[in-house]
């Protein structure tokens, strides 16, 4: 990948705060999720791969992650890493809504909110709060 050059995107100049926050969230989310996934995997291997035999044991539901972490279940840390990774793009949308609102750019507050609501629907389905099929 070649990122050289000094780009001066017109909309990027107008949306300076948005770019700063989105960049920060993507970088932080990437490192935090990779750290949790990597550490969880090493921890799980180090303690003799407990609970890895069935898919039900390997997938820790979102609402069970904190209690399972308190119970020192390494699979909970691995699942937390996956969820942190999946949540990172969603967090960038929240940052876009806030920074566009601060800049009074209501059109993009609306567009970012619309995309966020689609992701929220996806998350809602994943939490099984509603069931379509």
């Amino acid at each position: 990948m070649n990122y050289d050059g000094e780009p001066v995107n017109v909309s990027a100049d107008a949306d300076r705060a948005t770019y700063q926050w989105v960049g920060l969230i993507l970088t932080t989310g990437m490192y935090a999720s990779f750290a949790a996934m990597g550490a969880g995997l090493v921890w799980w291997l180090a303690v003799g791969t407990p609970g890895g035999d069935t898919l039900e044991a390997r997938v820790v539901a979102i609402d069970r992650i904190v209690p399972e972490l308190m119970a020192l279940n390494p699979l909970a840390l691995i699942n937390l890493g996956v969820l942190l990774l999946l949540a990172t793009p969603a967090f960038t949308l929240v940052a876009e809504i806030i920074t566009y609102a601060a800049a009074r750019n209501w059109r993009y507050v609306g567009i970012a909110s619309l995309v966020s609501s689609i992701l929220l629907l996806s998350l809602t389905l994943s939490m099984k709060w509603i069931q379509l099929f």
């Binding site: 990948m1 070649n2 990122y3 050289d4 050059g5 000094e6 780009p7 001066v8 995107n9 017109v10 909309s11 990027a12 107008a14 949306d15 948005t18 770019y19 989105v22 960049g23 993507l26 970088t27 989310g29 990437m30 999720s33 990779f34 996934m37 990597g38 995997l41 890895g52 898919l55 390997r58 997938v59 820790v60 699979l75 691995i78 890493g81 996956v82 990774l85 999946l86 949540a87 990172t88 793009p89 960038t92 949308l93 876009e96 993009y108 567009i111 970012a112 619309l114 995309v115 689609i118 992701l119 629907l121 996806s122 998350l123 389905l125 994943s126 939490m127 099984k128 379509l132 099929f133």
Partner: protein
Amino acid sequence: MDIFFYIGLAITGFMAGLLGALLGLGGGVFVVPALVLIFGIPELKAIGTSNVAVVATSTAGASTYVRSRLANIRLGLVLLISTTLAALLSSLVASLLPARLLSGLFAVVLFYVAITMLRSGNTKDQPLEPMEGGDKTSKALGLEGTYHDAASGQTERYSPRNVRTGMGISALAGVVAGLLGVGGGIIQMPVMNLLMRIPLKVATGTSNFMIGVTATSAAFVRYANGDVDPLIAVPTALFVFLGAKVGAWLVPRTPNARLKQIFGWVAIVIALLMITRALGFDLVPGR
């Protein structure tokens, strides 16, 4: 699952990420067939795993593109309206489709990738003319931008064209992401570069930014359906990411056109193997 299974996953993830970066694709195009054909992992679980790997690589890529302002966030948001909705709906539909049909659909995507690689390997990249005077929608939404082209030393201005049509066709990228677990860049890039007349570097940056959000929309649904097995997805995603990093480093040191020719034919072979699976002939027993 034994240690050799995990070593195999790590090698597969690394190679998928490496090839994806070298060929300008996401790793998902190679992850799904490898998991299905080599490891006998069911299609939906392979797609869920690929969704996670795609989010990992695109998050890493997007962080760089956003910081260097090569991603146009406004344009990405506008196109994401149709892609995320399409990804969500198609990921729900994927659960209802027979696994063998998914293999067949994946073969179709691989043939498309193969033809794209073979054609681009045969021809030199033709830079598009400088683009100004975008359409009304583009102006109304403030999508215009400029970027510095290091190769020419010029600052180029661009204004996206055919924004509404681009939004419509971008939905296809969401369908591919939701249904088959690939990033959708194979559709998004030509839409932005050729149809909307966005410079390649900006299209690449914006596509990277979009792919993470699109794949997330599908990945949550796959996670809910139990199709994301963390012990398969995590090692694969971590090594796809590592492979993509090494691939990115190798890009300027590799004869790109020749590589695309070779892997164009490799993609055809993989597509044929996926078709044999779609027709009911399994090379390895399922897990």
